[in-house]
């Protein structure tokens, strides 16, 4: 019986294979390919269909490969477009774009007006689309001539450009020819980089399009987004030269990168708002004084200094500098004042304190569990008796979405124009996450959406934000300062959205950059 006879030799063979594997692999880890930049990212790549993902990473990736109808420019503090020379609003329900002439995809195929209609239709009707919310107000899309695109909405939507910045412009001709397979077999876009390969949940590779007006000689020829979720692995990969950019370096790993001779850190305030949500449908959160007591009970500065190593900017209101409508003069403001918090609890009818459930996220945001654990004694010092709950993210989020969580720690990302976020959390009937309802807030938010004059719109937004801050259905805490690890062989400045655009990466000679 061969099996019988071969048992001992099998062991010996296995030993030989194992040892030879180890010997064969000794040597340095793979060196960085010339002119290739690998980026360690933390989000997922769920599909090759550009409409089937709704994570910030993939919007950015598809925006620089296929191209989006408009893009937000932090440098210009406004929207720009690679497809349109200009746009206007003939009335509050119409967006008219003057399209650029002679645009081509990276296979030479022209970008035609029908592509825009097709793209909006795919976002709306593709069975895999996770972007329907971006086009929910769009009723019709017309292209009366080769240079004009007219989008009509069901109601006035002043912040519509934010939604249109999520419209990825794909080719109608390729889709008509290949159907859904076009996303895999003919992913030809008009962006500065061309899709080379997509491995779902693994990596996304793209190459520079020679001669594209947005690219420069110093931009890398090839860029690969690699999903590395484990922070230790991400930092090690950076220091090991396996990747040249590593997103989201947590505070505890910052010293490792800072002490490295091959890499450095770049910082930016994220546009994600961290807050404590209080759902007024549950007692004691139906009382404004209780909500305000929470705002006075929490020492945000101490949390930022001790637990976040100073890597956050305190929020005194829903938004911070650089976000649309921000003003440092927004009132009211909440100081850390436990005595006042206790007094407010008494005024609310809880002289002996009140028992509350506090739901924390775990591993979703930077140091979230530790932050929530530190918030507990602060609340207890003000008279709350806190039951800290730490459900797994899926469980918590699902309950929040159904309005079933009374008091929780949460973040809201991608807030450049706060209109959508404020409406989502604080406008009556928009989502049950907080179930806050206030007629003045509703009126201000509705009016700002209908107001196309910037100054007037900002005034309305500020009015809504001021009422929300006073009513305190949420206590705004901070925006994280995001640390991105960057290899010294390149220069790169991240955006507050934490999107990484290849045209913002420049190759350079190795060496520690001047600080």
């Amino acid at each position: 019986m061969p099996l019988k006879a071969s048992f001992s030799s099998l062991t010996a063979q296995a030993a030989a294979i194992g040892i030879s594997m180890v010997l064969a692999t000794s040597g340095p880890a793979q060196a960085q390919q010339r002119n290739r930049v690998s980026i360690a990212v933390t989000e997922t790549i769920a599909s090759v269909n550009p409409y089937a993902d709704s994570v910030a990473l993939m919007y950015a990736v598809y925006s620089q490969t296929y191209g989006a109808l408009v893009d937000w420019s932090f440098e210009k503090n406004g929207y720009i477009s690679r497809f349109a020379d200009s746009w206007s609003n003939p009335d509050n329900l119409t967006w008219r774009f003057k399209l650029k002439k002679g645009l081509k995809r990276n296979n030479g195929e022209p970008v035609v007006p029908a592509d825009f209609v097709h793209s909006i239709n795919r976002a709306k009707n593709d069975p895999q689309s996770k972007q329907k919310h971006n086009v929910r107000w769009i009723t019709t899309v017309e292209t009366p001539d080769e240079e004009t695109l007219i989008i009509k909405t069901s109601e006035p939507v002043a912040p519509m450009l934010e939604n249109l910045s999520r419209i990825i412009v794909t080719s109608k001709a390729q889709y008509d020819k290949l159907g859904a397979a076009a996303d895999k077999e003919a992913p030809f876009g008009a962006g500065p980089y061309a899709i080379k390969q997509i491995a779902v949940d693994n990596f996304f590779a793209m190459t520079k399009v020679a001669g594209h007006p947005d690219v420069r000689a110093e931009n890398p020829e090839e860029v690969i987004y690699r999903i590395i979720k484990e922070p230790e692995s991400r930092v090690t990969a950076l220091l090991n030269g396996e990747v040249q950019i590593a997103q989201f370096i947590p505070p505890q790993l910052v010293p490792r990168v800072q002490s490295s001779s091959s890499s450095h850190l770049v910082w930016d305030d994220a546009v994600e708002l961290m807050f404590l949500a209080m759902n007024p449908e549950f007692k004691p959160w139906d009382k404004k004084e209780v909500r305000q007591a929470v705002a006075h009970a929490i020492d945000r500065d101490a949390l930022i200094k001790v637990l976040l190593n100073g890597q956050a900017s305190r929020l005194d209101g829903p938004i911070g500098p650089g976000q649309y409508g921000y003003t440092p003069d927004l009132q009211p403001r909440y100081s850390y004042n436990p005595a006042k918090a206790r007094e407010l609890l008494k005024q609310a009818g809880y002289p002996n304190g009140v028992e509350i459930d506090f739901s924390a996220t775990v591993g979703r945001y930077i140091a979230d569990k530790q932050i929530c654990e530190a918030i507990v004694p602060m609340l207890e010092a003000a008279g709350f008796k806190v039951n800290l709950k730490t459900p797994e993210w899926g469980t918590l989020w699902s309950s929040v979405q159904k309005g079933g969580v009374p008091f929780y720690y949460m973040g809201r990302g991608s807030v450049i124009d706060p209109s959508a976020a404020l409406s989502q959390y604080f406008e009556t009937g928009q989502s049950p996450r907080i179930k806050f309802s206030n007629t003045e807030v509703d009126a201000a938010l509705k009016a700002e959406r209908e107001e196309f004059d910037d100054e007037k719109r900002i005034a309305l937004l500020r009015k809504a934000m001021s009422i929300i801050t006073d009513e305190a259905p949420a206590h705004f805490l901070w925006r994280h300062k995001m640390a991105t690890g960057v290899d010294n062989s390149i220069s790169f400045k991240p955006q507050p959205t934490m999107d990484i655009y290849a045209v913002n990466i420049q190759m350079k000679a190795r060496g520690k950059p001047k600080q």
Binding site: M21, T25, Q33, A237, N240, W393, G394, S398
Partner: protein, 335 residues
């Protein structure tokens, strides 16, 4: 033997049925709605309702289960909620990565655990025996996620001799034939890709093998010690046979049953252990896929993967039963 095989295969059906029902009910009883998790933040209530309808979540649980069972009987586990692809194609795409890792880890465990156990047993209470016993305890008790991070820090971060994660350097491998990168590289004669794939395999495979190595070492040692005390071993030595022949030919032969048992049982643990290892090393296998499925409450994906894991465990144990008969003539596989 054929009758035995058929009987065992038929016996797996109720097991798979029970597992699928248990997993399905448990998933639906668990808090968290896939639509809430997978549909974007900004989606409207109508978008969420449409998704629930498309995924069949608006139907009673038993109707959903019956639908799943009907298609699963044709090896179709439905479409993943998260990826919107057939679950089976997602599994098949990533299965080779996990199997490559698991097989190499098993080979490493065999290569290290058995010889170490034999040497320890042949020199009882020596420094080598004591050291390998401590090493065995270390292997059995060490959490693999901790060991993974430590090895990444030391071998990738400090010595920079191995990559910290991933499966291959982009652009080195040719189009896959089997999906097993080592095998494909050999078949295609792409030695750079072979070397590259081996580098990426070493750390995760080693981490995955540590537990099995420790257990194998300890079990081999104890069963060898028992066998080496038998009368027939004394007879063999009295006949003047060399110690090498006594140990490797006469003693090891009778210690094999226990080793095979351990390998069979541990292979299942190794496959499930790969979930953590794949996550730490960003290894694109079915372990990571399962983790993604669980996070997203992707019912078809989770149920499909659990059935695949169960089937693998059953098959490995079936192979173990056949190996028993092959190595021990006293064991007969009767229908």
């Amino acid at each position: 033997m054929v009758t035995y095989l058929v009987r065992r295969l038929l016996g797996t059906l109720p097991v798979l049925l029970m597992v699928s029902l248990f997993v399905f009910l448990l998933l639906h009883a668990a808090p968290g709605d896939p639509a809430d998790i997978l549909i974007p933040d900004q989606a409207t209530a109508q978008d969420v309702a449409e998704a629930r309808q498309r995924w069949g979540l608006d139907q009673p649980v038993m109707v959903q289960y019956w639908r799943f069972l009907s298609s699963a009987s044709m090896l179709d586990f439905g479409r993943s909620f998260k990826y919107d692809e057939p679950v089976m194609s997602l599994i098949l795409e990533r299965f080779p990565a996990t199997m490559e890792l698991a097989l190499l880890a098993t080979m490493l465990a065999l290569a290290l655990g058995i010889p170490l156990g034999i040497f320890a047993a042949s020199r009882p209470n020596s420094w080598f025996d004591n050291a390998s016993s401590i090493g065995g305890f270390f292997g059995v008790s060490m959490p693999n996620f901790w060991m993974a991070i430590m090895l990444i820090l030391v071998l990738s971060g400090y010595f920079k001799i191995l990559p910290s994660g991933g499966r291959a350097t982009f652009g080195l491998a040719d189009d896959p034939i089997t999906g097993f990168l080592l095998l494909d590289s050999v078949l295609q004669g792409n030695w750079d890709a072979l070397n590259d794939a081996a580098k990426f395999l070493v750390l995760p495979a080693f981490v995955l093998s540590v537990n099995m190595t420790g257990l194998l070492m300890r079990m081999t040692r104890s069963s060898m010690l028992e066998v080496l005390g038998e009368d027939y071993i004394m007879t063999a030595r009295a006949k003047g046979l060399s110690e090498r022949v006594v140990v490797w030919k006469h003693a090891l032969r009778n210690a094999r049953i226990i080793v095979i048992t351990v390998v069979g049982l541990e292979f299942g643990a190794l496959i499930s252990g790969s979930i953590i290892v794949e996550s730490v090393f960003s290894w694109p296998g079915i372990g990571q896929l399962l983790l993604q499925g669980i996070t997203a409450r992707d019912y078809p994906l989770i149920t499909g993967l659990v059935l695949v894991y169960t089937t693998m465990f059953i098959i490995v144990n079936l192979i173990v039963d056949f190996l028993y008969a092959a190595v021990d003539p006293r064991i007969r596989l009767n229908g």
